[in-house]
């Protein structure tokens, strides 16, 4: 099994950064559940969701190897492209101030408020705590599984690289969560989402092209070229988007006296 480093390191980096964002979001809710409803329910719900995710990967993962690589690349690459472009679009709009930035502290406050209003525990198990922790771990975990499969769509070696990146992100977030015991607001999540959007869009475009049967100029190096292209486009459209939003929101155009 030969892994080309020109594909392996961007794959691991994309897996790491994208998973880091998802794990930070999950940690915020799990911390809120633990702080308000107790750690037993929070950790039980998280562990149960991780077990279900592992079962899904073990059951369905081997099926992917039976499908022709070009078909996997086209379908998974197409989904990754939709996912990455959606993520990049949102990151550009956030950077331009058109939509609000994601704030982990605000998300934590909202979640603790909701959990306090959910009523007292009923019986031996706090079902509210278990369900809340299970749901967020499951949802964010499914996104991580999808990202790992999608960015590693080029073969088993790349899947290992992407999974290694995701595991590194999981360990980092777990360690920081245990040490800090508060939402990881210091993680520059909005900047990370910008970079991740660029990387996922680049990988998605590359895999779709491969799936269609196109020959990329520079072969694997074109992933870097695609990433730089999407980054340049995004950098150009942040100020353009901000300016357009300001102009259209001005009192003259909105006919506000």
């Amino acid at each position: 099994m030969v892994i080309q480093w020109t594909q392996a390191w961007p794959t691991a980096l994309a897996g790491f950064l994208a998973s880091l964002v998802e794990f930070v979001e999950a940690l915020t809710v799990i911390l809120a559940v633990g702080a308000v409803r107790g750690w037993r329910g929070a950790l039980t719900g998280t562990a149960a969701a991780l077990a279900v995710l592992l079962a899904i990967v073990v059951m369905f993962g081997p099926l992917l190897t039976r499908i022709p690589l070009e078909d996997v690349q086209l379908v998974v690459g197409g989904l990754l492209l939709l996912f990455g472009l959606r993520w990049l679009r949102k990151a550009i709009l956030r950077a331009a101030g058109v939509i609000p930035l994601h704030d982990e502290v605000a998300a934590y406050d909202k979640e603790t408020s909701n959990l306090r209003g959910a009523g007292p525990r009923n019986g031996h198990w706090d079902t509210v705590a278990v369900a809340a922790a299970f749901k967020i771990t499951m949802l964010e975990g499914l996104e991580v599984v999808f990202i790992v499969i999608a960015v590693g769509a080029g073969g088993t070696g790349l899947l290992v690289s992407a999974a290694a990146g995701a595991v590194a992100a999981l360990l980092l977030v777990c360690a920081l969560g245990i040490v800090l015991h508060r939402p990881l607001a210091m993680v520059p999540e909005n900047h990370l989402k910008f970079v991740v959007g660029v990387l996922l869009a680049a990988f998605g475009t590359f895999w779709v092209g491969e799936g269609i049967g196109l020959t990329w100029p520079g072969s694997d190096w074109s992933i870097l070229g695609l990433a730089l292209g999407f980054l340049a486009l995004a950098g150009l459209f942040v100020p353009l988007s901000r300016r357009r939003a300001e102009v259209l929101a001005s009192p003259v155009l909105r006919k506000v006296p």
Partner: protein
């Protein structure tokens, strides 16, 4: 059952939050696939065409969303 609905909604939401944007992306992929299959064009040009079209779709969507009154 509600949880499964939530999971499917979230999974769908992973890739589609603007139907027009997602539709244009899929349509462009389909068009390049048709060109690659039936037209004798050099594939590096088709690769560039794929990337260029995606950039235009992204740019149009960003500007359209920016123009919506907040």
């Amino acid at each position: 059952m509600d949880f499964l609905k939530t999971v499917f909604r979230e999974l769908f939401g992973l890739v589609v939050d603007d139907v027009g944007f997602a539709g244009a992306t899929v349509g462009w992929i389909g068009l390049v696939w048709v060109l690659a299959t039936f037209m004798p064009l050099p594939t590096p040009w088709l690769a560039a065409l794929l990337f260029g079209g995606l950039c235009l779709i992204l740019a149009e969507s960003v500007l359209r969303r920016s123009g919506e009154v907040r």
